[in-house]
């Protein structure tokens, strides 16, 4: 019994002694002595060498972590060469949120859900953009087709940029050479690598850097027109060069009559938004050789 009682005494002694030693380690003088700054500096130097040898160019995403509100200024000309200009702001929180949301997006069971989620996460910047557009539209007394032309020409104006979810750029694709520059280029050769998960930017990212391909541009055009109260839709189908996405509108009169998409008793007129060309107007799809399996994804 006495031997066993000693265990109690010994153990408790050991416990309090250990505790005392740990508390002693917390004293400033002893802490500095235990922590070897030299080793940390050597590690930092070795790390610097590694970083200097790293020649891989990071993706040019200057908007990833801005620290203050981003002032956006967009100016463009519509189909009648009328000049428009809007200014609005995007908060750093909203921009970081959209980028992080897309990067971490892992539910790809439903493409419609992805588009709707991207619109939802971009609510702040989209509201800001729509507010600026509405004010400009009201000041210019634009109505009906003029408003549609105003919005779509704005989205069409930044040149098309190829977006890929792999590390493809630079490359030769669709009879075109694509550089590894992720920016809207006047010669339409901009290409963005590693845009996961589905090679589509959120509307916020388009607002910030104006880079977008068919679905990125169709998505933001759809979101803006919806917010402005139009019966817009995002349609996807085969255009002869693979899968393609376009904006579509119902309850309107087409400017150039060609193919349509029927959904739930409604007739949707397609609108090509990837670039601003004279023939890229409401209802026209004749720039594409084929028109198969088109369906409304978001309406």
């Amino acid at each position: 019994m006495s031997n066993r009682s000693d265990i109690l005494r010994l153990s408790s002694l050991l416990f309090w002694a250990t505790l005392t030693v740990l508390i002693l380690f917390m004293l400033p003088g002893l802490k500095n002595g235990l922590y070897n700054k030299e080793k940390a500096n050597l590690w930092a130097e070795a790390m610097m060498d590694t970083l200097k040898q790293d020649t891989l160019t990071p993706p040019p995403l200057p908007f990833i972590r801005p620290s203050k509100n981003i002032e956006i200024q967009w100016s463009w000309r519509d189909y009648h060469e009328n000049r428009h200009e809007i200014r609005f702001t995007v908060s750093p929180k909203d921009s970081a949120r959209a980028v992080d949301y897309r990067n971490d997006y892992n539910s790809l069971f439903n493409i419609r859900q992805l588009y709707m989620d991207f619109i939802k996460v971009s609510k702040g910047p989209l509201d800001s953009l729509c507010k600026a557009m509405k004010m400009d539209i009201q000041s210019k007394n634009l109505t009906g087709q003029e408003v549609l032309d105003y919005v779509v020409s704005c989205i069409q104006t930044p040149p098309y940029t190829k977006i890929t979810n792999r590390n493809e750029c630079p490359c030769f694709d669709m009879n075109n050479y694509w550089t590894d520059e992720c920016a809207p280029k006047d010669d339409r050769t901009g290409c963005c690598n590693n845009v996961t998960p589905f090679a589509v930017y959120t509307p916020t990212e388009f607002i910030l850097q104006k880079t977008g391909d068919c679905d990125t541009k169709a998505l933001i055009a759809y979101a803006v027109l919806k917010k402005l109260g139009y019966h817009a839709a995002l349609i996807v189908g085969e255009a002869g060069t693979g899968k393609h996405a376009m904006l579509a509108l119902t309850g309107v009169r087409p400017v150039i009559q060609s193919q349509v998409v029927r959904n739930n008793g409604r007739i949707y007129y397609p609108w090509e938004v990837t670039n601003k060309y004279a023939e890229y107007k409401l209802g026209n799809m004749s720039m594409w050789p084929n028109w198969n399996n088109w369906e409304v994804i978001c309406d």
Binding site: M1, R4, S5, I7, L8, S11, S12, L14, F15, T18, L19, V21, L22, F25, M26, K31, N32, L34, Y35, N36, K37, K39, A40, N41, W43, A44, E45, M47, M48, T50, L51, K52, D54, T55, L56, T57, P58, I64, R65, P66, S67, P92, K93, A96
Partner: protein, 302 residues
């Protein structure tokens, strides 16, 4: 102060049959164990707060993290301690887990006319019998399952202590780590390109809309790497001290006679046995009474 009351539920009446010395020893042992346990929970809570600050860089989220981690450790440590609090008297242990031998004594006995007082006397005399027998009882022998359970408990304790040790080390050496991180940031400034460089810079830049509140780095792994390199073998020593701190109460409960063979566990076990025994006797009496009643009442056909 009876600290043990709050954790182990120790009450004065549990020691009615124990001697004064035994009673004082038991209070001391359980108070000591409770104090150790509280210290470990405090350490766990502080470590949880450090993790919360490291990950979220925000006090509003660090405080719930501290409470959550502290709460989880509170429950797990309590579980391990309670699992270890098993009587070491083989005789008592066997009686409590299998009471068939005790019940068999009354198989042929007529209890239908026994009063509650008589039944109570039977139980009380049995209580005394157990108490006397348990004094000379051999220790319980470890079984394969007990060894297996012990390994699991040890692993669980080591995981908790490792997590707490790392959290506490961050807290202890935060100023030194921040100094190193600041040096790295200054040295990095001339390097402008490279994915790794961009990543490192992002990790060393404060989060959007805020400042660093604890460690000036957004990457826990980078922080630990700096900590491990700078402390070297001292980190292992501090880790070991934390392991000891967590393992001592565990070993103490297992090995000290004050717990496994102490009056508290013995009295609790005897009380449990008595309750089961009394319930058995009452049931047995009722069964016999009903049996008699059935025999006396002729079957009727309606």
């Amino acid at each position: 102060m009876n600290l043990g009351k709050y954790i182990f539920g120790i009450r004065e009446e549990d020691f009615r049959r124990a001697t004064e010395k035994e009673r004082n020893d038991q209070f001391l042992s359980y108070n000591l164990l409770s104090a150790m346990y509280f210290i470990l929970v405090i350490f766990s809570t502080v470590a949880g707060g450090c993790y919360g600050l490291l990950i979220f860089q925000d006090w509003a989220l660090a405080i719930p993290s501290a409470i959550l981690f502290g709460g989880i450790c509170f429950v797990l440590l309590l579980l391990v301690l309670f699992l270890n609090l098993t009587t070491g008297d083989a005789w008592l242990y066997n009686t409590m887990t299998d009471m068939t031998t005790v019940f068999n004594r009354h198989e042929q006995e007529d209890l239908s006319h026994a009063s509650n007082h008589q039944l109570h006397l039977i139980v009380e005399s049995h209580e005394q019998e157990i108490r006397t027998a348990s004094m000379a009882s051999p220790d319980t022998t470890p079984t394969v399952s007990m060894i297996f359970v012990s390994i699991i408990k040890l692993t669980l304790l080591l995981i908790i202590s490792c997590a707490v040790a790392n959290g506490m080390e961050l807290w202890m050496f935060q100023d030194q780590i921040n100094e190193s991180l600041s040096t790295i940031k200054t040295q990095m400034a001339p390097i402008q390109s490279g994915i790794l460089n961009q990543w490192t810079q992002e990790m060393l830049d404060p989060p959007v809309h805020g400042e660093f509140t604890f460690i000036h780095c957004q990457s826990p792994l980078m922080t630990w790497e700096i900590l491990a390199i700078s402390l070297g073998p001292t980190k292992v020593l501090i880790d070991m001290l934390f392991y000891c701190l967590f393992l001592i109460p565990f070993i103490l409960v297992r090995k000290s006679r004050q717990y496994a063979h102490g009056a508290y566990l013995r009295e609790i076990a005897i009380r449990d046995i008595s309750i089961s025994y009394m319930s058995f006797l009452l049931t047995q009496r009722k069964c016999q009474q009903l049996e008699e009643e059935i025999k006396q009442t002729p079957p009727t056909v309606s």
